[in-house]
Symmetry: C2
Subunit: 323 residues, 2 copies
Amino acid sequence: MSEFALIDALRARTSVARRDVALGIGDDAALLAVPDGQQLVACTDTLVAGIHFLPDTAPEDLGWRALAVNLSDLAAMGAEPAWALLALTLPQALPRFIDRFAAGFAELARAHGVALVGGDTTQGPLAVTVTALGCVPPGRALTRRGAKAGDAVFVTGTLGDAVAALYGLRDGNFGSGRTTVAPALLTALNRPQPRLAAGLALRGIATACIDVSDGLLADLGHVCALSGVGAELDADALPVSAALAATFEHAACIDMALAGGDNYELCFTAPAARAAEVARVLAQVPGGVTHIGRIVAGSGVVARDAHGARVVTRSAGWEHFAR
Amino acid sequence: MSEFALIDALRARTSVARRDVALGIGDDAALLAVPDGQQLVACTDTLVAGIHFLPDTAPEDLGWRALAVNLSDLAAMGAEPAWALLALTLPQALPRFIDRFAAGFAELARAHGVALVGGDTTQGPLAVTVTALGCVPPGRALTRRGAKAGDAVFVTGTLGDAVAALYGLRDGNFGSGRTTVAPALLTALNRPQPRLAAGLALRGIATACIDVSDGLLADLGHVCALSGVGAELDADALPVSAALAATFEHAACIDMALAGGDNYELCFTAPAARAAEVARVLAQVPGGVTHIGRIVAGSGVVARDAHGARVVTRSAGWEHFAR
């Protein structure tokens, strides 16, 4: 299979022409101009069919999602996205699949001004690996290491929607009174929105940040482990979408919000005294923000209900799509 | 499966500590310092079990090779390698496999001062995607586009060894009088040497450059297509290793040298008047260099024997490992 079919399909759909791309797709490697004085931010993530997405996922959604999960990592660093490289493995050359995949990838790339600068198309079991590259001024990146006891904990957007959609698609558990997955939940699963604007707005404010890919408890747990602190969450404060609340009982919503993966919201910490500033700088960005708890001395993450009782989730973190 | 097992194994084996890595593995993304005034060079390549390598390839060799094929792309650009990101997909968590894979990857990384700065380990059919990042001063990169009629064509090292090893391992065709694959051929297949020193030495001299991953005819064909020229090769001038010459008949050696993939040598063009300079700057780098033909007006690549007759190869380019 030629990699040129994919690349032509992507080129045809992507109007992102960045002046900092000196040489793009079509040579042994791309040549890129990182602005003087900025740090390069780099991450890579793989999606494997049957593990990270259902095998019948629409190609457009897969293309979007493969880029989204990587842009979400850049968002969590407070980075400005610039370029991406794409390695797509397909069982056979399927022009229509490639076309549709390219359309979804390019739609998100255009939305954030990301140029595709390299690619590799290979034959094999369906999987996608994207490498995303961006920039940040030195000392301004958000990391997982700076949370301090007394900091407040926040999350963007809403939690649990994606895993709720998965319960429907994979298990036929659509929630009360429904026979299909609510459209808003499907959108959360298939078209996650990387919170790039929020990440940029949080430079100089957030003390630590991570994107919620494995589930809130698990991901905030990474922040706590690396920062040497613990966290307490107010279960009733967790932001849940109207679609989720209308579909599942309260306890199930809380469970999904705490443990469900694939949210791609940002969970971050900031000094409690700056909570109003956090609300102000994020007022204009998509998704909004909710204050959900606090960083404490110690270790581990616990969620408590309004009575102070610990909320125990059914699962600890990210679930495989394949059960 | 946790990605930390792999990453710890790699960390334990890699002593590459680069001062330009502000933040390495363990956060949402790496933070890297590209030297002011240099361009970033980026490429990505995937190896899939049964397609790009035999399923029983030793994990050490797979780790080496996954990095080597990407460093080879940087070499072809005349770039200095700096960092790599690794996405490894494994059917199940096999600590011993990961350990051995890490050893091979780290051995090559150390040899070229490359720091592993990001990774993702996922469950699924065995495959590896590496993204390699390096630097080059603006205007100094070698591309596929600058070959001109009258230029001489060169190749580093020797050609055909890797595919000869594949014929043995895959097909039981070991060559005359042999019942196993000659060790030197196996090494060429399993431990390709990215020609980074040659790429650096060719800055300002080569007019076009590519690495021979798909086969000499195919890869030089890419250079010719992008440069708007043709090429004529002297079949008898093609560099063939002593091991290959001792194992296969002359015609078979020429065929493998022209069409065999996985060589990872550099094929490049330079003004004919600078042939002595080419020889001089490459005299000290591993592999050496051979003058194998010339760029002509027109299009396409032909190889001719000493009588001027066109040499026709059995295959046009890269062969799948799986037949």
